[in-house]
């Protein structure tokens, strides 16, 4: 069972975890990302390239399935306007082996957080807003992944 959703709405981690627990494996690992309200941030605006995002995320999920013996993978990524405390991303993996579940979860969230085709704009309480710059090292890694 693999499922990828790129959506504006929130999600229910309990529902997602329950589905993964029912995959018959011994372990379910998950990572949930939450928007932080650092430095007066009041909102995060996520833009993405719809025709590309889903295909790329599905490709990295397939990649994870070949690297680890997984029974289930669930990826949810939100876009649009999010506020501090809002869930932004969920990755859940199920496997017979805890190491496979944990490592693949880390692999997927790592890719999503640095290489997925999203652009982020930060809005601050003083009215300022700025697009987040890509970090050079992330760009270098992204080239490796996508080449």
């Amino acid at each position: 069972m693999t499922q990828v959703s790129i959506q504006t709405g929130d999600f229910d981690t309990a529902t997602e975890l329950a589905a993964l627990e029912n995959c018959g494996g011994g372990g379910v690992a998950s990572f949930t990302g939450v928007v932080r309200g650092d430095d007066g941030l009041i909102a995060l605006e996520l833009q993405h390239y719809p025709a590309m995002t889903l295909a790329q995320v599905e490709r990295i999920v397939e990649d994870a399935m070949t690297r680890w013996p997984l029974l289930g993978v669930r990826v949810i990524h939100r876009f649009g306007r999010l506020e501090p405390g809002d869930r932004i991303v969920f990755v859940g993996t199920a496997s017979r082996h805890r190491t496979a579940a944990l490592e693949s979860c880390a692999f997927l969230i790592d890719w999503l957080k640095s290489h997925a085709p999203f652009w982020k704009k930060e809005h601050f309480s003083d009215g300022e807003a700025r697009w987040v710059d890509a970090r050079a090292e992330d760009e270098a890694k992204a080239r490796d992944w996508l080449s």
């Binding site: 833009q47 390239y49 999503l112 957080k113 085709p117 652009w119 697009w131 890509a134 992204a142 996508l146």
Partner: protein
């Protein structure tokens, strides 16, 4: 042949003031960078968004490619800043 559809994202979109447009298809061997230079020559938001190609990345038909890639027969060109991840 069909025109080329161009998509813009993030601050490129904001500066240009539109998220997509169609342009007359350039010759197949024109590199993306040359088309970007032609668009930047329109001035205004285009110059602001596209004047510094070092800050830009591109995708042809939903695949990341270097800016020296010829446009070929692609239907869709996307121009954007480096992705910042989710």
């Amino acid at each position: 042949m069909a025109p080329l559809n161009i998509l813009y994202f993030a601050w490129v979109r904001e500066a240009i003031g539109r998220d997509e447009e169609q342009v007359e298809r350039p010759s197949a061997d024109m590199p993306i960078a040359d088309l970007i230079a032609m668009l930047a020559a329109r001035g205004g938001g285009y110059a602001q968004a596209l004047g510094d190609p070092d800050r830009l990345r591109a995708a042809l038909d939903q695949h990341f490619v270097p800016l020296d890639t010829p446009i070929g027969t692609a239907r869709e060109l996307a121009i954007f800043p480096p992705v910042t991840g989710g």
